[in-house]
Symmetry: C2
Subunit: 324 residues, 2 copies
């Protein structure tokens, strides 16, 4: 995986994705006493960055592969990304989703025209189910992060961050990413290594789901104790990817975490200061940036966070913010 | 007021404002069976388009005027725009606001460094108070819409809409604007008249506060029956501006309205489909676009709406959406 893969993906994505804004709030900057910028991928088509990786991968398929169709397993954002990319390219799509996925994610995936197959989270193995369906029907499996074409697509977020931050006069920064399997983090890290080499990339995860932080801290790839229990449904992957972890080891010195309560506070800050709807898993990087102890750890550079998705059920959003 | 004034304003605003995205939702388009695009000015610095007009005006002041300071009266968005533009330019600012303005608007205006003077809405005349303070302290009054430099600044929204829509393959459209005093509508109409002459501009107002629609329908400039009672606090101006109405008469064939309940539904649609926080007054154009009878009136062209602000108190937003 190098910058050329990402630049090639950017060409495939031209005219398909939105260049999302890099937002900044003078009032929040004053409160935090430093520049904080939000890369608003919740405004991306399908409501998260996942459409980038999905279209990057699907747009390279052969005619025969397109005819047979694709399959993906996802808690909901990769699902919607693959479903809409497939729709745009005229490819039949089957999506394997947990039956407790947010209603909006299930409904939208179907609305984009995909066939949705559900499984029981924590009981069935979505990987096994995905592989079985793929083999039986000769579908091309589009993995959510352990797929170079997907990582390259997510890396286009990094290209945009570099261009936009440099235009705002920022040439040294800490970039906090929302990290599940690590596709977004790996892609951004590779992109910034050449496009903005003074930008450091730090993956952020929920407390108790810090498989990436713990894997980075040691020599082994470690798993989370549980598959369920975080409000950050988009990023509760069991362990870092096989392809992504070596990239993260190369570029990311360590990982950070925040609690569910801090995630909800971050969602409220995104709402009030940035006028953005951010889902829990998309707010973990902002939650880490808002923790004073983490800011002290990170030093004085401007902080850029990904707000990586906004697909949250309205009723849940209202109750979380109301009770915060 | 012609395109040159707006292009001059765009130069003054360079590097100060954000180019806000023009967003589109494939799922909402499918539901409405036409393209609907949202110009997300709620993402502008200070949370509304008003910063454009404010900075446009303040940046032309002489050294002596800057030293004496500026004054503005506003229900909150012009207040924040002037306060932050003054802060950026090192100009002292006094803002006259109704004492029942949204708390966020009052707090932010002070946080940007302005002195806030409150008045009782429906009892005191903010215009009289503004003029009196301005004369007594020799402050330059920055009117919210009856000021060519402000209209020119708001017109830069129109320049961006033209560029962005044409890039998306749209060369004929109906542009629905959120209309209070008419500064945004007039500026956009003048900009589009040369930059995208097949774009028609239609001002949108709350039911019972349709002073602009009724003024456009007749020869007289007419007032609203009441100054208070709409949830759209940002646009409950008593009558169209003296400078703006002649411009609107030239370019806008008629106006549209929607109810408070339809505004709240539009806020929910903005939340769910566009991941945007839009305040009531900033959602009136989307509310009109969502009304099927209005869409039939407007014909088949793509509809572009301004989501002109996002400064809504969190508790109010939650209760409005919850009860919708």
């Amino acid at each position: 995986m190098d910058i050329q893969h990402i630049e090639d993906a950017a060409i495939r994505l031209q005219g398909q994705i939105r260049t999302t804004p890099l937002l900044e709030s003078p009032l929040l900057n004053a409160r935090l006493q430093r520049r904080l910028l939000v890369k608003a991928e919740c405004l991306q088509i399908t409501g998260s960055f996942k459409f980038r990786g999905a279209f990057s991968a699907l747009s390279t398929l052969t005619e025969a592969e397109r005819d047979r169709g694709v399959i993906a397993y996802s808690s909901g954002n990769h699902a919607q990304g693959v479903a809409f990319a497939a729709h745009q390219l005229g490819i039949p799509a089957t999506i394997v989703m947990p039956d407790d996925a947010p209603k909006m994610k299930l409904a939208n995936t179907q609305a984009y025209g995909a066939r949705v197959v559900t499984y029981r989270r924590g009981v069935d193995s979505r990987e096994a189910l995905g592989v079985e369906l793929a083999e039986r029907q000769q579908l091309r499996l589009i993995k959510p992060y352990d797929e170079p074409l997907v990582i390259a697509g997510q890396g286009t977020v990094g290209l945009e961050i570099a261009t936009q931050a440099l235009a705002l006069g920022i040439n040294k920064a800490t970039v906090l990413t929302c990290c599940g399997g690590g596709g977004l983090t790996a892609g951004i890290a590779v992109a910034l290594a050449t496009q903005a080499p003074k930008f450091r990339v730090i993956p952020c995860e929920p407390d108790h789901f810090d498989d990436t932080a713990r894997s980075l801290a040691g020599a082994e790839r470690v798993r989370n104790a549980s598959d369920t229990g975080s409000i950050c449904d988009a990023i509760d992957t069991p362990e870092p990817g096989e392809l992504t972890l070596p990239i993260l080891r190369q570029y990311c010195p360590f990982g950070l975490t925040a609690s569910d309560a801090e995630v909800v506070q971050a969602m409220r800050i995104a709402f009030e200061y940035f006028k953005l709807v951010v889902e829990p898993g998309g707010a973990i990087a902002l939650a880490c940036a808002l923790r004073e102890d983490h800011r002290q750890t990170l030093g004085d550079d401007p902080i850029i966070v990904t707000a990586s998705g906004g697909n949250v059920d309205t009723a849940l959003f209202l109750s979380l913010i109301h009770d915060a």
